[in-house]
Amino acid sequence: MEPDAELMLQVRAGDTVSFELLLARHRAPVIGYLSRMVRDQGVAEELAQEVFLRVYRARSGYEPSAKFTTWLYRIATRLALNSIRDRRHERNSQSIDEQSDERQAFQPVDDRANQEERMLAEVRLQTVREAISSLPEKQRAAVLMHKYEELDYQQIAEALDCSVAAVKSLLFRSYETLRGRLGAISRSRKKSGA
């Protein structure tokens, strides 16, 4: 049995330390996934709280029939998709705020060459974020789980409640779109030797 499932069974038996271990192991990846999904750190943390609350609430009925990570990302994905749909009408105004927030995090340095390099990196990063964020929600979720969370096709299929063939199709289309959108960045990175 996988270690996470063993921990979850101990949580089911009333062991709170095992829940702390699960939280320590999955807190950062889940928040990372959700923040990339919803593009808002505050909302991502609220959703992550809800994910772990649901895991804790479901402890008494937990059966290790699926991989724990799959179950966790299934909950996270559902919450993220619902949140995105709920906040859809606010998206335009929020994206402006996010851009300004993200730019505030950039610290200018005295050295002009470094400053230009960092500004270029910031523009590239912004382009990557925008390209991924502009994917349809299900494609975005599939790409984020595949690229950043290291989930395999089967796990992504279970998290998105679709077939493995559908996941592959989603991923191939998403990566094709991203290759097109980020091609310019990749070429500019090559030229600058980054």
């Binding site: 939280l23 590239r124 950043y148 991203l178 091609g183 990749s186």
Partner: protein, 160 residues
């Protein structure tokens, strides 16, 4: 090999390069057989490299504290009742008050009350009892209002 299978092979290899030298040689030989797939593989490598620029957000320092507070709140059943009553209170209080007034006005205005009940008590005593009931209902509502004073949930703005 279908195009979908080739795409899967390319994406998998770009994500995690073939581990052994033999697997790597075989993969390179396969790419050498198709300039299109070679170009796709290189583009996919560049894409993943660009995507690596987007680092994950770090959890805030108060994340665990807030989560455990919420878990504790759920564990205390009194809190659930307080939250429920807190949510119910405005509409519940208004409904109860309206119900009490309507009931009192109907009962007091009805001359055709059962004679047995009317005879058993003088009209003044009945009216006094009804007023007492209304007063007690209002006192109950005031008691419910106290639940609103309870801290139902941590302030969401308290997240650090």
């Amino acid at each position: 090999m279908t195009r979908e299978e080739a795409l899967e092979k390319i994406i998998d290899a770009a994500k995690r390069p073939p581990s052994g030298p033999r697997e790597l040689r075989e993969f390179e030989a396969w790419l050498d057989g198709s300039p299109e797939y070679r170009a796709l593989y290189e583009e996919q490598l560049e894409l993943f490299s660009a995507m690596d620029l987007w680092e994950p957000a770090e959890p805030s320092a108060g994340f665990d504290r807030k989560l455990y507070e919420r878990l504790e709140q759920e564990a205390a059943p009194g809190r659930w009742a307080a939250a429920w009553l807190g949510w119910m209170r405005p509409s519940f209080a208004a409904a109860m008050a309206a119900l009490a007034l309507v009931a009192a006005s109907i009962v007091l205005d009805r001359p055709e009350l059962p004679q047995v009940a009317v005879k058993a008590e003088p009209a003044a005593a009945r009216e006094s009892d009804y007023l007492f009931e209304i007063d007690r209902a209002l006192q109950d509502l005031e008691m419910l209002a106290d639940f609103e004073e309870l801290p139902i949930e941590a302030d969401p703005a308290g997240r650090s």
